[in-house]
């Protein structure tokens, strides 16, 4: 990447402005309602975390470059310019205190999609060298090593060997012509190998042809978190190349929120052409298998289970009803949180916040919202479908001394899966 300067930052912001952004800024009446939708404001009471306020750098560039009155103000020297000092100050607002969860975008009375604009403003922060070190590090590792956590293929291979030895299940690698290419997040490889094990079990039962890809196993995309189209494109291209090399029909995004956004929604736009394959979140696939009668469950739990909607999946991805149908496959006692689905509260660790050390204290503080929400349900177990949410929630609950198991939904389906039903039927 070329050297980051203020000028490049401002140019990047200029390039990001489109008709929706101009309409959004033109419509804002400074009512402040977005603050009430943001856990960084509700849990701290600090007005600087008001979502629309976080966009001030982008707003200034829009005003001075794309409005008549702004151009006049600029010519007369009345315009407040975006400065290095300003962007430095805004780093906390745009990264530490925003997960791009888009809850504010759902409630803004004039319809401003604030998260859409935060994502755009981060492009300017990267170009001007104002992104936080932690997120920068994750992005560099993703580009150079292939994973934001520095997980290499050898680590995945070791996990595969382990799982194969433990379960006797086969985990295919680089199987050309498979129907489904399964992607993983580094967190799943390192912290939650039960995810991959669960998939192997489910896919075997459902009779699905699937594979992993040695050159494209990492689904996460630090580029869309830090706000760098260049990095995001490199990371998505790896997946596209891998999927096209293996000629798969579908690519499965793992239990990760932003990976789904990156591949499903941003991917084709990043590489500049539609995909030759379909992209599904694992929960969408499981719901399809359920509907087709290919997976059945047994021994349903009677304990109270609740579900945390990952923001990128529900509010930003429309995967809302499927997870509920799947929850009802594993428990007879499913309790919704008060605000759920598209109005769910973020765990506080999305959008790169969990890899940003500067944000750690704040993240724990605002996690109180999720903790309260979970406790209110009286649930015995929390289920989610994002490895990042899962880790952030586990850590948050520990900080608040709440003992509650947190489980991935796919893994839970695998645990309750009716195996070898076909054989059993034949015998019967």
């Amino acid at each position: 990447m070329s050297e980051a300067t203020l000028e490049r930052g401002i140019n990047a912001l200029k390039e990001q402005i489109d008709a929706p952004v101009a309409a959004f800024f033109s419509s804002c009446v400074s009512c402040g309602m977005c603050a009430e939708a943001c856990l960084f404001y509700t849990e701290t009471g600090d007005p600087k975390y008001t979502p629309i306020y976080k966009l001030e750098p982008l707003r200034r560039v829009w005003e001075s470059e794309y409005t008549l009155i702004g151009k006049i103000k600029k010519a007369l020297g009345l315009h407040k310019p975006v400065t290095d000092e300003m962007l430095e100050e805004w780093q906390e607002l745009l990264y530490d205190s925003c997960t791009m969860c888009a809850r504010c975008s759902m409630i803004c009375p004039v319809g401003n999609d604030i998260a859409y604009m935060v994502r755009k403003t981060r492009e300017g922060m990267v170009a001007s060298g104002n992104a936080p070190e932690g997120v920068k590090g994750a992005s560099m590792r993703a580009v150079t090593i292939g994973s934001p956590m520095g997980v290499k293929l050898s680590a995945l291979e070791a996990q595969i060997k382990h799982i194969e030895a433990d379960t006797g299940l086969k985990i295919p690698m680089d199987a050309e012509g498979a129907d489904y290419l399964v992607l993983l997040s580094s967190m799943e490889i390192m912290n939650f190998p039960e995810y991959l094990e669960g998939l192997a079990k489910i896919f075997k039962q459902a009779g699905i042809s699937w594979t992993l890809c040695s050159t494209a196993f990492e689904a996460t995309n630090s580029g869309i978190q830090i706000g760098s189209t260049d990095i995001a494109r490199i990371l998505v291209q790896r997946i596209v190349d891998g999927a096209e090399r293996l000629k798969v029909k579908n690519v499965i995004s793992p239990e990760c929120g932003h990976a789904y956004t990156a591949i499903r929604w941003d991917g084709p736009n990043l590489i500049g052409r539609p995909f030759t394959f379909r992209v599904l979140h694992i929960l969408e696939l499981l719901d399809e298998l359920r509907a087709a009668g290919k997976i059945k469950t047994k021994d349903l739990e009677t304990d109270c289970y609740t579900f945390h909607d990952p923001c990128s999946l529900a509010r930003k991805g429309g995967v809302i009803e499927g997870p509920r149908r799947l929850m009802n496959m594993v428990t007879t006692n499913f309790a919704e949180m008060k605000d759920h689905g598209k109005m769910n509260w973020c765990c506080g660790g999305g959008g790169g916040v969990s890899s940003n050390e500067d944000a750690e204290e704040l993240r724990i503080k605002v996690f109180k919202k999720k903790k309260d929400q979970i406790e209110e349900t009286g649930a015995d177990v929390l289920v989610t479908a994002c490895a990042n949410c899962r880790l952030v929630i586990e850590e948050g609950l520990e900080e608040y001394k709440v003992e509650l198991p947190v489980i991935g939904l796919s893994e839970l389906i695998a645990d309750h899966l009716v195996v070898d039903e076909a054989q059993a039927e034949e015998k019967g």
Binding site: P20, S26, C31, I52, G111, Y116, G318
Partner: protein
């Protein structure tokens, strides 16, 4: 001829023409300024449509999310009071309709004046309460700029002067009526260049929000 009458005549002729011209050209220019920026073609396979959900959001955003409403009811209540009060006073007051008819050749039936009168009071109270809220609320304090105070004043004055004129509370009458017309003209001139534009752009921003979310299969 007396001075207040001359003033009233001026506000209704020269000043009116200038204000309407700036308003109309300005609004068209601003809308062009926004829409001409365009949107990049979206290459991701859509989960839902854009147009319908966009239209739906134009209406649905008028109803606040209940949880958010509970956290900040005053913003919503004062907003409703002011907007409803203003719209009734503006478009259902018989003299306003007659002015419209004289200009464009058609009109519509108005509401009885006591109702319009109540609407104006509702709008004034809504605006005053909103102002108080803006001064007291820490979030609003943080994000309020000079422009917000300006547009508040520009919106408040026409309603206040209209109310005073209707009730003949200022003597001579032509003076207060002239001030009423002048305050509307000030509002019209500032309109295209301030956030008063949200009157029109709210349809764009709500539509974009609904459309972009609709495409991803989310009702927003």
């Amino acid at each position: 001829m007396n001075e207040p009458m001359d003033f009233l005549i001026w506000t209704r002729s020269t000043a009116f023409d200038v204000a309407v011209t700036i308003f109309v050209i300005g609004v068209i220019l601003r809308l062009f300024e926004i829409i001409s920026l365009g949107r990049k073609q979206n290459l991701a396979e859509a989960k839902g449509t854009e147009f319908g959900p966009g239209m739906r959001t134009i209406f649905s955003r008028s109803v606040p999310d209940l949880g958010t409403f509970r956290r900040q009811p005053l913003t919503v209540v004062t907003g409703y009071m002011f907007h409803i009060g203003l719209f009734i006073s503006l478009i259902m007051f018989v003299p306003h309709i007659e002015l419209f008819r004289a200009t464009f050749g058609f009109g519509w039936p108005g509401l009885p004046t006591p109702i319009v009168d109540a609407a104006a009071v509702l709008a004034l109270i809504g605006l005053l309460a909103g102002l108080w809220h803006r001064i007291m609320n820490p979030v609003m304090q943080k994000i309020t700029t000079f422009e917000d105070w300006l547009v508040w004043t520009l919106t408040f004055l026409p309603i206040l002067t209209g109310y005073l004129a209707y009730h003949r509370m200022v003597d001579p009458y032509p003076l207060i009526l002239g001030l009423h017309v002048l305050s509307v003209e000030a509002l019209m001139i500032a309109f295209p260049f301030t956030k008063l534009m949200h009157t029109f752009t709210v349809f764009l921003s709500r539509w974009y929000n609904g459309a972009m979310n609709g495409r991803r299969g989310v009702e927003s």
